[in-house]
């Protein structure tokens, strides 16, 4: 297929995944800040939402401080934030439109309908309830797009590049949450704090839609080291770093097989996966969670660059 087509598919999927991620961060943060103050919230949860989104620099250039309204405006609607939900959906739609022919009609309708409907949401007039509905709608858009790609696309390189875009963005998103919240994720040997931390942990789980999954997997109350284990190493959890890399390696292998040639992308992805599967949570805590996550984010970015060089813009 055309390199440009692969590039657009990859980025359409990435942007939709990012929109979904932002919706979940906003949703979880709104919930956390709704807790009574007696639970002793120390920091500013809205600051941490901005940090998790990965666009803190852009935010503080525009606003004096992080609160519900500035963060909501910036992450959801701001035309100046290139990664706001609104921009993610518009860019995804533009990418999709440029490669209409590579999408199935169902995928196109999912993204084009979203783009048409987006204009009907009035950011200014939205109260909390309407905003919550908006976030649900954003999640539904990503679901509809990914679901229709899964149900309707031919299993060929177009599908594989779409899956790569989703998986690499998802790995980045999970890692960013961990990067911001690493200080509340402590090993089993440490003394853990009170109820505040509990809400921090459940918020993390909500941000990756994994609260229910947690209970099914561990069958015990929420423990910080298990939260870290679920998000980093657990292969059953679709947003864990390991699971994302299994997806990346699998689809890169399918591409290599179809094209009859392996390259740097296959090597970089399988090296990262090997490191994840060969690690135990104790080792990660031993060498430092923060260092581990920073290293992972850098590796994940390197894979993005490698895929681009090998396939998307040779």
């Amino acid at each position: 297929m055309l390199s440009r087509t692969a590039d657009h598919l990859f980025w359409t999927a990435r942007y939709l995944e990012r929109a979904d991620f932002l919706a979940r961060i906003l949703d979880a943060t709104t919930r956390l800040t709704a807790l009574p103050a007696s639970y002793g919230r120390p920091g500013n949860e809205w600051e941490s939402a901005v940090a998790s989104s990965g666009c803190a620099a852009g935010f503080y250039a525009l606003y004096d401080g992080a609160n519900e309204y500035t963060v909501r405006d910036f992450l959801a609607f701001s035309p100046t934030n290139p990664s706001s939900i609104r921009n993610c959906l518009s860019v995804a739609r533009n990418n999709a439109r440029a490669v209409r022919t590579a999408l199935t009609i169902e995928m196109w309708e999912a993204i084009n309908d979203a783009w048409l409907e987006l204009r009907r949401f009035d950011a200014k007039a939205m109260d909390r309830e309407e905003f919550a509905r908006f976030l649900e709608w954003v999640k539904a858009v990503s679901l509809a797009f990914e679901g229709s790609s899964h149900r309707t696309m031919l299993r060929n390189d177009a599908y594989w590049f779409t899956r790569l875009g989703t998986a690499i963005e998802r790995a980045d998103n999970t890692a960013r949450i961990l990067d911001v919240k690493y200080h509340v994720l402590l090993p089993a040997t440490e003394q853990v704090g009170g109820s505040l931390d509990y809400f921090q942990w459940t918020t993390i789980l909500r941000e990756v839609s994994a609260l229910t999954a947690y209970h099914w997997v561990y069958r015990e109350s929420v423990k910080p080291w298990l939260v870290a284990d679920l998000l980093i190493l657990n292969r059953q959890m679709p947003r864990s770093l390991t699971s994302c890399y299994e997806t990346l390696v699998r689809h890169l292998d399918l591409i290599a097989e179809a094209y009859g040639m392996r390259g740097a992308s296959q090597r970089v992805a399988s090296t990262t996966l090997a490191r994840l599967t060969g690690t135990r949570m104790e080792d990660v805590f031993q060498s430092g969670l923060h260092e581990f996550i920073s290293g992972f984010i850098a590796d994940n970015n390197r894979l993005g660059v490698t895929i681009a060089e090998q396939y998307l813009m040779p």
């Binding site: 055309l2 440009r4 087509t5 692969a6 439109r97 209409r100 022919t101 009609i105 309708e109 040639m261």
Partner: protein
């Protein structure tokens, strides 16, 4: 201006109905109005959802607009269509021979069929093409011939579009939406299908692949990109054809061979169905500032390693001054009398014609020789005195740039407008394909309708709409 011929009743307001419309008229009279209204909004929703939009240059906010679609089809009988079809094939055959001749032996110029300077001084004449041999001598692989009707028996050709004619996606999508919304109408009418147009187009394109292309030539569709007004059509056609939709930067030329950049490396391209104008094709030969084209493309083309459809330099043949010589061109190249009429045309470059035109500005239509899309045009009977005086000055200043024609009473067709059903003027653009095995016309075409009462301008950029076009079998 004479009273317009109405396609349904013959004479406007008459109670009798022409044969083609008998069943349709009964259906229109018996179907409740609210049902028709529901269907109209469903049609609009359909077009918006599939994203069939067009951009209007110079309008920022409405950068993606729908062309209004009218649910009442325009109906032709098979015997009417057969005359049109023969006439269209004859005309396009003549156009192709004319182009092969002016870029080859130039016999028609020696024989004085038309003045030499109309060719040589034509801005669309490409000297680069002189002596270049194109596969099977075909230049206009895809032609859109605009036809208007003035009475039961008479069709006039208004314009020949042989550069990059657009609109065929509307022909196909209009039929698609009609089939979805009014299946019962198709049970009662035997409507000739148009759905095989993409297959016919692909076959034509493959048939003109360069000799070295092998048995399975690679065809691509070259688009200026998604900000072009016809981008929807480009992506629609590429999809239906099953070929890659490429932009200039996706292609490169190495050793006079055109390749596209793919995820598996470079892949050779044999036939380019290009939807960008000559000027932008190759920055090394034409406009150096073009970022839409491919450097080296012309050199690969002249080396015979790639086929461009349509060929470079076809614009000479859809010039309005050359148009006025089409009857002579048809006679010269086919040895037959033209089946389709030309609108009588005064060439303002001729002194007597100019005087005639200046005397009758209030009854004639004056057009710029190189204008298109309904711009740069004076419709005398509808123009203000001021507009007419403006054109009088333009005509005196540069008469060569203009032709004039009588104001034709374009036929009308019943159309839904705000007040209900009313007659509106229509034209018809059938699409003629030419490949190594000859000419083909899909039965139908794009009917454009001027939605404003009394208006004769059907162009979508100026408030025109479209209709499905039916050719009834038997």
């Amino acid at each position: 201006m004479a009273t317009a011929f109405d396609e349904m009743t013959g004479v406007p307001g008459a109670t009798e109905v022409r044969e083609a419309y008998v069943t349709l008229k009964r259906w229109l009279e018996t179907t409740p109005r609210h049902l028709l209204d529901t269907r109209r909004s469903q049609a609009e929703l359909f077009f918006r959802r599939i994203g069939i939009t067009f951009a209007v240059y110079g309008e920022v906010e409405a950068s993606e607009r729908l062309i209004p679609f009218d649910i009442i089809p325009r109906v032709l009988l098979k015997r009417e269509w057969e005359i049109l079809e023969r006439g269209l094939k004859q005309r396009v055959t003549a156009l192709n021979r004319f182009l092969a001749d002016i870029y080859g032996p130039r016999e028609c110029l020696r024989a004085g069929v038309l003045p030499e300077d109309l060719v040589y001084r034509n801005p669309c004449f490409r000297l680069e093409m002189a002596g270049v041999k194109v596969p099977h001598d075909i230049y206009a692989h895809i032609a859109g011939i605009d036809v208007v009707r003035v009475d039961a028996d008479t069709f006039y050709v208004l314009e020949d579009n042989v550069r990059t004619p657009s609109g065929v996606s509307y022909m196909l999508e209009n039929r698609e939406v009609m089939l979805r919304l009014f299946p019962e109408l198709f049970e009662e009418h035997r409507v000739a299908p148009v759905e095989d147009y993409p297959d016919a187009l692909l076959a034509s394109l493959r048939s003109v692949a360069p000799a070295g292309a092998g048995r399975d030539p690679t065809v691509v569709l070259l688009t200026p990109g998604q900000y072009n007004s016809a981008f929807y059509e480009h992506s629609f056609l590429a999809d239906k054809l099953g070929v890659e939709l490429v932009e200039g930067p996706d292609l490169f030329v190495r050793d006079d061979v055109v390749c596209m950049r793919t995820t598996e490396g470079a892949k050779r391209v044999d036939v380019i169905y290009r939807r960008i104008d000559d000027d932008f094709l190759d920055p090394l030969v034409f406009r150096p500032d073009s970022v839409l084209g491919v450097a080296g493309l012309m050199s690969a083309y002249e080396a015979g390693n790639v086929t461009l459809a349509n060929a470079v330099g076809t614009g000479v043949a859809d010039d309005k001054a050359v148009y006025s010589y089409m009857p002579e061109i048809v006679r010269f190249f086919t040895g037959e009398e033209p089946i389709l009429k030309n609108v009588p045309t005064w060439r303002c470059r001729e002194r007597e014609a100019l005087a005639y035109v200046l005397d009758r500005l209030d009854e004639l239509v004056v057009k710029e020789v190189n204008g298109s899309g309904g711009y740069g045009m004076l419709i005398g009977p509808h123009a203000s005195r001021q507009e007419r005086e403006q054109f009088r000055r333009k005509l005196r200043h540069a008469p060569d740039g203009f032709i004039a024609q009588p104001t034709l009473a374009l036929s009308t067709c019943p159309t839904f407008v705000a007040e209900g059903m009313a007659p509106r003027h229509v034209d018809l653009r059938p699409f003629v394909l030419t490949g190594a095995d000859g000419c083909r016309v899909v039965p139908g075409g794009l009917t454009r309708v001027a939605l404003k009462e009394g208006s004769l301008v059907v162009n979508s950029s100026q408030g025109g709409g479209t209709k499905d076009t039916w050719v009834l079998d038997a």
